[in-house]
Structure formats: structure tokens, C-alpha cells
Amino acid sequence: MTGAFRTPVGGRIDRSKPLSFSFDGRRFVGCHGDTLASALLANGVHLVGRSFKYHRPRGILSAGAEEPNALVTLDRGEGRVTPNLRATQIELYDGLRARSQNCFPSLACDFGAVSNALAPLLSAGFYYKTFMWPRTFWRHVYEPAIRAAAGLGRVPTTPDADRYIHRYAHCDVLVVGAGAAGLAAAVAASTNGERVVLCDEQSEFGGSLHAESAPVDGVAASEWLEQALATLRQRAQVTMLPRTTAFGWFPDQLIGLAERVTDHLADPDHRLPRERLWHVRARRVVIATGAVERPLVFTGNDRPGIMLADAARIYCRRYGVKAGTRVVIATADDSAYAAGVALRAAGASVCAVADLRAEATDLARASGLPMLLGVGVANTTGTRRVSRVTLSNGESISCDLVLMCGGWIPSVHLYSQSRAKLRYDEAIGVFLPGAWTEQVRCAGACNGTLDVNACVQEGDAAGAGADAPARASVRTSIVVPPWTGGGKAFVDFQNDVTTKDLFIAASEGFRSIEHVKRYTTAGMATDQGKTANLNVMATVAALTHRNVPAVGHTTYRMPYTPVTFGALAGAARGGLFEPLRHTPMHDWAWAHGAVFENVGQWQRARWFARPGEDMERAVERECLTVRTEVGVFDASTLGKIEVTGPDAAEFLDRIYTGSFLRLAQGRCRYGLLLTEAGCVMDDGVVARLAPDRFHVTTTTGGAAHVLHHMEDYRQTEFPDLHVWLTSTTEQWAVIAVQGPSARQVIAPLADIDIAPAAMPHMSVRECHVCDVPARLFRVSFTGELGYEINVPSDYGPAVWEAVLAAGQAHGIAPYGTEAMHVLRAEKGYIVVGQETDGTVIPADVGLDWTIARAKRDFVGKRSLMLPDMQRPERKHLVGLLSSEVLEEGAQLVADHGNRSMGHVTSAYWSAALQQPIALALLSSGRARIGQNLTVPMQHGSTAVRVTDSVFYDRQGERLHG
């Protein structure tokens, strides 16, 4: 037996395949084809959760994606715990373990339920109004308590153990929803050979056809369904995706689909991803997403055992579950009668149908159910399940199941996300999609069409690309007037929003539906108000004496139902989240004790640890090695751009501050690049290899940006120049050899004369180093005699090791980025992005010497003439001496002052000076050299002395070896 409330026959479940599962530790048996919700109902379990705010007992409201109450946590083991899943959509598998949420210590006995008694304090906007006094209590008493009590489910604490992938697809027609309309559309679209993708969020295609009792196209619904599926399966151009939710519409008909691949399997193949995220670009889209039943609003409409009428019919006819034995139906629509008939056939007794409508329809009369016309529900009782209903005519009926139906709400979410406009239909009181367009058509219940045969017709026309068929004017429901009774009548079950909350919002002057939503929280959280929004709009309309279209609807946003972060991330996790760039010498550094740091996407060796050394000692040793002997540094991450063409020099003249037209072949010049606003953007070395060929370097982080900047000017401002730009950053390994012995190390390896006369400072030679074709630069970012050997990347490691071997006799050692920073700071060399922040002009950092003033124009030149650039109180680059290493970013103030005069940009322990040094940007800084200032830091203030920004070898003699 798979549950005491299971019907002996009928439905699409397989009674011969029992599945055991647990809910809150209790063991139950369901059967193959069940959802968790249907299996619980089959076992007589209605109480499945506690509500968000008042912790009221809640049951299963629906049978689909709209479920606001039955949210559970599914536990599949370490790294596989998923909160907030809708029990109505969880396919049962053997061994399933689910937990209820939002209750402590247990579902039946929940301490939080006390908040139900505190309800007067928790009304709309309570967090703005109550718990405000005493003020300090909010942070330490109220907020932690509210946070602990609130929320839906718990965030998993371990990394997701599953795998997710993305797929991209293009099709002629995407059909969303495989009910009667969607299937008809897919068949029609694929008839003429169009590529069709058909998706449906449920495990089986068919939608409402599974519970349909009327004939479709003259045959039984099940037979029509089988035929349609057989036809589609035969067509190779049709892709069928069950368990796939079209969750979002993105511009130009890109639809996001989330396919659940393994969640329904007890023991999934580990090679399969858990979910696939489809990016489908569709020429046309047919939306056949159906409709959601509208709950009725009455006092106590939230008790377990109160359910949407059609949900009960689906549980009965599709899952063989009798949701109750004594049934009261409250309705404003004919469709609830079908639910009554189905339950009666399953052996339940339908005690009464309270029909809000004044007159009986033929269909209602034909059902033979006991009708009470013009009657609604006034109140309900029952603690953990409804036990009694009081009707508006005073009658009181004992029952264990109340079904409600306030008509149907078309699921226009996806349509509205496409930015198409909805129209309000006064007759049935709902928002409907607008007219069909070439790209988007809505068919079936989401288009307001309820009759199954009319749905098929509409789907057929939508799929074929034909005109919309004339709409059958079948009106079976009335527009339910808003609830005006007392007590707690819920409009939004998931957020515990009652009519009273809406009344408060309206009486406090909230009129915009978007404001009402945010003030009351109606329509928020995981269900996004699928069952609530229309009742909210109608109630607000009545309270503010407007009609519903004047109130309008809130924006429909993706996702339609929650999408896992895993699916959105796909493969972009861990090492694949962002590519890490490694230099050719990375493996060598790794093997030789390098500690790495990330610089942009690059991993760079920060320092090289020797036994017994911490970072401080290693950096000091590396600095001194460079100053006294020779160090070798991996500078491969520097950006490199090859600038070629007859106008290359003219182009560089217009881009950089300096002059390059007369730069001799074989010579280098420091290049400073400004934005058009005159601010420092990047710097590097510009080397002339030939009259029409330059090798330009950029900062590590600025490489791509500089290339784009140059490309932009080349293409749009200087299209007359014949010049080409090529990124060569990764083509060259760069080995910087710096220190007094640098020349002795390199000379034996190079096939050219590198003596000072033959190769002065700031020169470049194309030659061979270790028999490898090389571009040898004589440049320095340390202040010492220095060379940078550029060799093709693949030769990098070999040349690196050859340099180290050749340097053995000279005490060579590798140094990392930290020592590089100390060495350049000792020389007052700036690092773009550290000493500059996008507002700094060349003169601020003492680089106005780079500007070739005779040039007519270069990017940024005109801006340097603006009055703001001449202000004497601009911040200048200065040096600071202090007794402790300052904090980078710390502010500079005058003695006892509290106004910032600037900030520390770089701060290090200088190995050469044996004392802390810092660079800073200081207002009128050059005029303050020699002054004492104060730097407030976390543990107290410290005194600093303002100095020139060059701390070491002010004459620059060491560069020349």
C-alpha cells in the first residue's frame, strides 16, 4: 500500500513500484510517478511547513510551480542540500530525504508560532515601525532575533558537489509548455520542417491533459497526447526537453532554460551533470505556459487541508490520491465542479459547493453536486488541519478538505519579460497577453483560453505561424470581489500578507503597486506571488477606489521559478571561474619556493623563500642582492604591443606625451600615456626597432586597456595614419637582469657587444642570447644597471636558467614583485594605479619632463591647459620618512589637524636605507618638503617627515653601472 489515501486504481502512478522516503525523519511509502506532495497527501500528511512570519501551520496548496507553502529542504548528502524546493515539483525517488523548514524544534510544535500571537506587532512595514525603541536594541536584540526567526530555509554551508553545464541552441520555434496548446504548436511548427525546441517544467509532457476528462479532437485526451508525442518523436528536427523550465527571457529572443537532469534519480550516473542551462536563441517563440488557479481570500484560508480545487483534481486523477474525505468547495468558477466530481468518484463525499455566483451554469448543474448559490466562506477552524467551515449563510460544516477556486490567472510571466505589454480583461478580471506578433505568440490557458479543444486550435495556429483563431466567448467565472471580512485572510501565503496589511498600506498612502509590494512584501520571495499578485492588485484597487488596470501589475522578472547558482555558474567555478595567466617561468618559480600573488589575471612570484626566511627577510635579502650584486626578475607579464607601419612614429607621437619622430633606431624612451582628460593612464617603454617598427611595453594590468585605447584612436580619430597594432604580450618571455654585475652576467650570453659605449642606457638591440633570437633592452626599474632580455616565450625557461647559471659566480638570485616594488619606491618610480588614481596629471607625479611641449597635439595635451590643472594646491608626489612602515591608503594631516591633505600611496621597509619609506600624494606637496606631518593609523598616529620622492641615488649614477 502506498498510502491510506491512495485510490485503488487510476492515475499515472505505478502502484507496483513502491518508493520509500522520509519527511522530517518519518518514513513513508509512495510510488513511482509521485511527487513528494502527492506521496505525502497519499499518506494523509497535510501539514508540511510553517509560514514565514507568523509560523502558522501550512499545507499543500497547489500541484505545481506556483506552490507558496510546501517548501522543503532536500538532503542528498554532503554538498547536496537544497532548500526551498517545492514539494509539488519534487519527483519521488527511492530513499528521498526531505525536511520541513521554518520551524523549531519541530513542525507540529513550533516555538516560533508565538509570533502568531504577536501578530499586531508584525503588520505591514513592521520593521520600519516596531522594534525601534530603545534604539540600541535594534542591532543587538531585535534584529538578531528577527533574523533567526525569519527566512526561508537555510543556506548550504558546504560547496556544491554537483556539476552543471551550459548548452547553446538555435531553433526556428521554441515552444514553452507541453500541454495541449504547446504540443499542438510543436506539431504544427515541425510539420513544415522547422527546427523546434519543446520544453516543459514537468517530468512528463501533457500538462493538464493528464487529468483531462473531456475528449480532445474527438478522441480521449490520453490518446490525443500519445499521438502528438509519437509524431514529435519521429521528427528529428524536434528537441524535446522535459523537466526544463523556461525561466527567463533575454533580448532578441534568447530564452534561458534550466533542465534538471538527475534530481529525479535515486542513484544518478556520476557522469551526468545535475542541471543543464540552455541558452536558446529562437526565431519565433510560442508561449503555452498555462494558467494558475486563483485562491479565494477569506478568514482562515491558509489552514492545511485548504487547497486549490484543480490541484485536488490533479492529485486525484493524475496521482490517484484522495486529498480528503469530507469536502467543501468554495468557488467562483465552473472548473471547481470538475474537482468535486473527480473526488466524489474516488469515494469522497462533497458536502457542499459554495458558489459565489448568483446563478448556476449548466455545467455546474450537471455535476449533481450540492450547490449553494451566492454563498462564500466566512471562516474556518482547525489547528493543524481544517476541521470546520462556516459559510456566509451561517451554515457550519464539518470537513477535512476545503477546495477553492477564484478563476484562473494566465501565466504571462515569460511574455511580460519579453517587454511586451499586457492588457486587462474586464470580463474575467485578469491580465492577458497582447496581440500575436511574428516573434511571440501565446496560446492556450496563458492566453486566457481554457477549453482544451480551443487550446489545441490556438496552439496549432501559433505553431504554424498562422493568424489567431477567433476566440470562443466562453466565460465560466466571475470576478471575485475583494474580501472585506475581518480576521486573518491571506492574500500572499508565502509572505504572510493579509488583507489587513494591504489596508494598512493603503491607509498610509501607498498607491503604487510597486510600493505596496515593497512595503507589505506581497509578491516577493521564491514564488514571486504567482497565486497572490492578482488578489493583491484587486484588493489594492478596491481599497484605493481605482480599477485594476489603473493599479497595474508589478514587473515580471526572471527567473520564473528559482534557478540554482550552480546552473547559472555552469563550468565557471574554481579554477575555471576566471582564467589564471602563468608566465613561461612559472613552473621554475613554483619549484624554487616562490610565493605567488595575483596581479590582474596573472600569478606573479612575490618573493622566493629560502629555508628559515619569512617574507620580510626574503625581501630584504632580494633587495640587497640587486643593489650589491645582481638579481633576476620575471617581467613577462608586462604588456607588449608591436606598433608597425610607415606612420608608426607619428601615431605614437599623438598617443604619448613624448616625442618619437626623432627617436633613433635602437633607442628607447619612457612613454607616458594620458587620457583625453589629461590624467595618467599608463606608462612603459617605447623602443624603436626600425623606422617603421616599435616595441611598446605597458603595465601588467593595463595591457588590454592600452591596446583598446590605441585602437580606438587609430580607427576613429587618426584613420589617415598607416599603422598597425598587435598585442605581443604572450609572445615574449621577459627576463630582467638588474644590479651592478648585470653586464658581466649577460655579456657572455649575448652575441653582440653590450659595453656602455655600444649599448647605452635606454637602448635596444635585436640579437641572440643563448643562441636564441632576442630583443635585448637596456632599461631599469630598480635604479641599477639593468637589462631586459626578451626571448620567444617557449625559450623563456631555458634562457632564465642559463642566466642563473651564468650569474652564479656573481651571486645572482631571483627576486619577486615585492622586492621590485621596494626597489622602485626607493627610486621614486611610480606605479600607475598605485601612485595614480585617474585624477593625477604628469606634473603631479613629477613627470612633466616627459612632455614634448613643441608637439602640436597629443591625447590629453589640451586638458593640461585647463585652469584646474594649474592649481598650486594640487596633490604632488612626495616621499615620507617615518619610524614605522605606514599603512598604504592612510591619510596625511597637519599636527592636531583633522583635514586630510593627502594620502600614502606606497609604503615599505627600505633595505638600502635601513628605514621605512613611503610615497604619498600631498596637497601642495613640493612646497611642503621638509615639513613634519601626522599619519593617523589604526593603532594611533605617527609622525612623518616630507621629503623628495627619490630616496636612493638621487643623481641616478648607478644606472650607468
Binding site: D252, E676, R862, L866, P867
Partner: protein, 90 residues
Amino acid sequence: MLLILCPWCGRRPENEFHYAGEAHIARPSDPAAVDDARWAEFLHARSNPKGTHAERWQHLHGCGRLFNCVRDTVSDRISATYKPTEAVSQ
């Protein structure tokens, strides 16, 4: 994700492109000849319309070229793309 028609490569998804600001803001040919106000306007003044906007895009992960594009900033609809040397053609 928008589909953008690169005038050289054809229709490609938005993530191959890089937005590059308002179009048709010509850099003065002789910056020294314009006054500060005019230069500041060139640097900073942008139309920022609600509606039709002529803007520049670069097919960064494609041909690398910059081109012009007319996009409605409300609906995100692109009504035309054209080469820098061309006039708008719908």
C-alpha cells in the same frame, strides 16, 4: 543578450562586443584652437537620451573594429549599425 550586427562580421551575440560611448563626438582637429568651455564639452557633455541613441561599439572578440549603432535606450532595440565612414541606413 542582444544580437548586434557587426558591419564587417555579421550578427553576433552582445558578449563579443564592447560598448564605447556616444557616437559622433568629433575630437576638435586643433584642440589648442578651442576654448576651455568647448573642450570641456567635448570631454564631458553627453546627450544621455531616453530613446534613440547613436553610440559606438567595438567588435572586441571578433574583428576588433569600432562601428556606430543606433539603439533605443528604453527598449534596447537596435535599429541600425554602420561603419564609421557611413551614414545611418536603417
